[in-house]
């Protein structure tokens, strides 16, 4: 996937995955990495920004002698996710048109 597309999809993806249930950084990055193959550490600035925008709330829990930071979605985060989903649905229509064009080209070449 193109880097810019990955970048664009990262924020709603983070919101959506955290929206499924409270999670911590490593677990989240593993899940995202499996989906879009993004660098795990690239996730950090996104989490910081969403936290600062009050889209996420955090709590630290002691785990094996160290602190593990858990992230959960706030009402504002859910609202932000809903807005971004609407935009992605619009994008989906564009993608459908682009994909159809690509299929036709493939048929013409074969």
């Amino acid at each position: 996937m193109d880097a810019q597309l990955k970048k664009g999809i990262l924020e709603p993806l983070v919101l959506a995955l955290i929206g499924e249930g409270e999670t911590y950084g490593y677990e989240l990055s593993e899940r995202i990495s499996a989906i879009v193959g993004i660098s795990e550490t690239a996730l950090y600035p996104v989490l910081r920004r969403l936290e600062a925008q009050a889209c996420l709330e955090t709590r630290s829990v002691e785990y094996k002698g160290r602190l593990r930071k858990y992230y959960a979605l706030t009402a504002q985060g859910r609202e932000s996710l809903a807005n971004q989903v609407r935009e992605l649905v619009e994008l989906e229509r564009v993608i459908a048109v682009v994909t159809r064009g690509g299929d036709k080209n493939d048929e013409g070449n074969s």
Binding site: Y26, S39, V46, K69
Partner: protein
């Protein structure tokens, strides 16, 4: 934690030393948690280090983010310059990366608003100096005016208040514009730096892309800034109106205008009066810049003649009450920076012709001005005007 990863974070902490230990720990805590979790999950040290990327890029990202956040939270010429320098420093590294030409262009686009912002910061500084000059003008005018002229002193206070409030308001406005331009500049820089690739690999590539997104997390809310600006404009506006009211009340503004427009009066009017000396115990002369008191020999039978020469924009009055002849210069408008006008011979001249046995008693010099008195043939000098006291029948 393995030796390689520990070394990674030790190097990162050294690189982030200027942020302070607490801020560095906070910035690195996510990465350390990630490394610890990854090792627990069975990743090798090499895999973890690969995911963390180059330590120089982690340091660069955190420092640049810190300088930008500081500049956004507290815009100013210093913080903006540091942030711009940090951005350009990162940009120099970016140029080595293929495909960074577009980013370079966007970053270059941030330079014109940066210089414009700095120009407005300079204007704000110049306005602050103007405010100091305004206050100085008021203070000088205040002390230049004789204590006898209370209204003019009030007017001088008004000048100081108007100068201070107007220039402070101007400085705040320039600062407001400069801050807005600074935020715009930072926004452009973030936009340019925010187009980094978030693909697999080092944080240097992925992190740069995210840095731009992280930017907005640190944006300072604009409402309080605008609120402060409104409060400042309201306060300086009220002070300005108060100062204008004081100037209007004192009439010093109108006199300033008159003096400015009649540096050398074309016509000198002469007023003369004669009094019986037996009715006068003392003569008090009040001009803008000096108070002069002449004591008479009580019961002297002669006649005192006094002449007051005035330009067309000035006036004075003689009054005789309780044995005291008082001359008072009614229009007292001279501002310190218009001394050259007032120093023109004949601008203000009072001539008293005195009997030989009269004695001058005392003078009240103002500030650095000197009033010179002699028992007879007296000459009293004041900066703003000239008071001549001569022997009876004599003309200087």
């Amino acid at each position: 934690m393995t030796r390689g990863i520990a070394s990674f974070f030790a190097t990162a902490r050294e690189g982030l030393a200027r942020l302070g230990a607490e801020s560095a720990d906070e910035a690195l805590s996510y990465y350390e948690e990630f490394a610890a979790e990854a090792l627990e999950a069975g990743k090798t040290e090499a895999e973890v280090l690969e995911r963390l990327g180059r330590v120089e890029d982690v340091i660069s990202q955190i420092l640049s983010e810190d300088s930008m956040s500081r500049a956004e939270a507290s815009p100013g010429p210093g913080s903006l310059t540091r942030a711009t320098r940090g951005g350009l420093g990162r940009h120099r590294r970016l140029r080595l990366i293929a495909g960074a030409a577009g980013r370079a262009g966007l970053l270059s686009a941030a330079l014109p608003p940066y210089f414009l912002s700095m120009a407005f910061y300079l204007l704000a500084l110049a306005s602050l100096l103007g405010a100091i000059a305004g206050v100085a003008a008021g203070v000088l005018a205040y002390f230049d005016v004789s204590p006898a002229f209370v209204a003019s002193k009030v007017g001088a206070v008004g000048i100081g208040i108007v100068g201070l409030s107007a220039f402070i308001c101007l400085a705040a406005s320039f600062r407001f514009i400069a801050d807005a331009l600074a935020r715009f500049t930072l926004g452009l820089m973030r936009r340019s730096l925010g187009k980094g690739s978030p693909g697999k690999g080092s944080l240097g590539e992925g992190g740069l892309g995210m840095a731009g997104q992280a930017a907005s997390a640190h944006k300072t809310p604009r409402t309080p800034r605008r609120g402060r600006m409104k409060a400042l404009v309201a306060a300086t506006g009220a002070a300005f109106i108060l100062g204008l009211a004081l100037i209007a009340f004192s009439g010093i503004g109108a006199r300033y205008f008159s003096i400015w427009n009649s540096m050398k009066p074309a016509v000198l009017a002469t007023r003369e009066g004669e009094w019986k000396l037996s009715a006068i115990d003392s003569i008090a002369i009040s001009t803008l810049n000096s108070d002069i008191l002449v004591l008479t020999s009580s019961g002297h039978p002669g006649i005192l003649r006094a002449a007051y020469e005035e330009p067309d924009w000035m006036s004075g009055s003689y009054t005789l009450a309780n044995g005291r002849l008082e001359f008072r210069e009614v229009s007292s408008g001279r501002l310190p920076f218009l001394k050259f006008a007032a120093a023109h011979p004949g601008t203000t001249a009072i001539r008293l012709e005195l009997p030989e046995d009269w004695q001058s008693a005392r003078s009240k010099p103002e500030g650095l001005r000197t009033a010179i008195f002699k028992p007879l043939g007296i000459e009293a000098l004041s900066i703003g005007g000239r008071v001549d006291l001569g022997p009876l029948g004599g003309k200087k």
